[in-house]
Symmetry: C2
Subunit: 339 residues, 2 copies
């Protein structure tokens, strides 16, 4: 028994990872439809040991698909996702387009899988930096409550896409050879630099990335007024977002309490040995599907205050893996029915 | 009128910057004594258009110096600084050795220059990440008070020294060529990675760098129980530390209030235009002597809460420039008397 699965944006960084994760996790694919914009249609992608030609992403190409993973631009999602959903395809959308729509569940399965109930064939997968944050916050929220969350991010260049990775490499090479290389993807050089600027600037001096982190976290955790705030920073890392998270719990807790709650949480690995320099870093965590947490410690200057260091592969748990896990949760619940 | 000036650690990254800053700021040097450990003695350094042979750092070599800038290891500071100070040399020490000694002023001239009064010939210059933080906090503290400070750092590799810069470059080259390069200076690769680990691990799961930031900030601002906490992270940047600072003021303030207070503060440059993507980055700020602040905005989820993004050249304002400014303040006050 299997499914007809479309992947829109199959030639992009996230789309490629969706194909890899579907294969690795043996998602029951009966028929694969790799799709992309007309610019990339005709290219080949690899899946399950074969090459597949990429078709153009149109409403017709999606007809009859059981699942469609959207990992393309917001424009394509806006145009095609509702059409496909109405036609009966379960759409799992990675773009920002529908995330805050009250009719659309925004889901990290191990955090709020219950939100999938009653979906209308359109499900949003959150922003990469949000996913790893809520996986770490959820077990703390459930046991001790949350009073405040302050996040500083260290976000990888792959979050911006393949062109940004090329720019990082070109800048690094130019730098080592003493040449200049004018940035095109980012407004400033990213090699040997950090930019407190992810996505475009919006209201109140916040970037869209910072607002996403605030709004999506509240929606997923189901607390409309959760006090969460962020500074989002791009760093010259290829894959793997890191977050320095300062939080206050509502109830009293010890570091050991937090460590136990985190260690027992699904999809989460605690790597923490303060004495022995054990902590997660993005280079080590790249390629993994879990969220990694270390540097768990008290802030002795504030009541019920703690620090966490949270790292995950932004292309996998932050994007492809989470989308595939949403599909797996639906399959486990028997909807849609397989063939 | 000028001074006999010794620079201990003259061949190191900070010592080299001390020589450059002394020259650029036309510090009245009558006689220069570049000194280092026996390993580096005999090498040449450049100052004021000439080459100078580096002598071995001994008590004898320091005798009769008016000023001695210590930019070497903590061991050398522990061994030689008190001897030189007792012999009448004004020692400005960049190491961690004496910073928390209640008899030793810990000084950022534009923040607590008054602490120089009554010094006993031994003055400590703070840790790089502390200096830029207190320059940004001081004008806010003075006008609106401070209730809480939460800092996440993005620290450059030059803070660790020349060997770490070499390691970063070797790792970057190996990475681009698809080779492995085992780290030696850091416990993990720093190229295309971030490490939540600056200096050694100490009590309560904090690193020494994090404790320095807490303790030194309190001493410089003169508030023993100021609630300040930090996560210190090394990033693959060559020069320039950045800090994402979340703070709460004691009194009500607007973003414009904060911007005005910061813009009027000595040694500080506001680079902030939220709409136009104007903000400081380490690559642009390297080589400058000021502390740069941007991304000034409200956290609407907490009372009197704000974010700042603070960037400075860790080798200059974070080390050499601050040390030379301490000497300039003493010269302006007429102590020691010149020749």
């Amino acid at each position: 028994m299997g499914y007809r699965v479309a992947v829109v944006g199959a030639t992009g960084l996230v789309g490629q990872q969706v194909l890899r994760v579907l294969e690795e996790r043996r998602f029951p694919v009966d028929e694969l439809r790799p799709l992309a914009t007309s610019r990339s249609a005709g290219r080949q992608v690899e899946f399950a040991g074969s090459s597949w030609e990429v078709g153009e992403a149109t409403a017709e190409a999606l007809e009859g698909a059981d699942f469609a993973f959207f990992a393309a631009s917001s424009d394509i999602s806006r145009q095609l996702a509702p059409v496909a959903a109405r036609a009966g395809t379960v759409v799992i959308d990675k773009s920002n387009t529908f995330r805050m729509d009250p009719e659309v569940p925004l889901v990290v399965p191990e955090v709020n899988g219950h939100a999938l109930a009653g979906h209308r064939n359109l499900i949003a997968s959150p922003n990469c930096s949000t996913i790893q944050l809520v996986v770490a916050l959820k077990p703390i929220l459930d046991r001790f409550g949350l009073e405040r969350v302050v996040v500083s991010t260290y976000q990888a260049v792959s979050g911006t896409g393949a062109a940004a990775l090329d720019e990082l490499e070109a800048e690094v090479r130019a730098h080592l050879e003493g040449r200049d290389h004018a940035p095109e993807v980012y407004p400033r050089p990213i090699a040997f630099n950090v930019l407190p600027h992810c996505d475009r600037f919006e209201a109140e001096g916040y970037t869209l990335e910072e607002w996403k982190l605030v709004r999506e976290t509240r929606k997923i955790l189901g607390i409309d007024d959760l006090p969460v705030t962020a500074t989002a920073v791009r760093v010259p890392v290829r894959v793997g977002h890191s977050e320095a998270v300062w939080l206050q719990t509502r109830d009293e807790a010890t570091v050991d309490d937090l460590r136990r709650a985190l260690a027992a949480a699904p999809g989460l690995v605690v790597r923490d040995d303060p004495g022995g320099a054990e902590y997660p870093t993005p280079l080590e965590v790249a390629g993994r599907d879990e969220v990694f947490v270390g540097r768990i410690r008290r802030d002795p200057t504030a009541p019920r205050a703690f620090w966490l260091w949270v790292v995950a592969d932004n292309l996998r748990k932050g994007a492809a893996t989470n989308a595939v896990q949403i599909a797996e949760a639906l399959v486990a619940a028997g909807k849609p029915a397989g063939r």
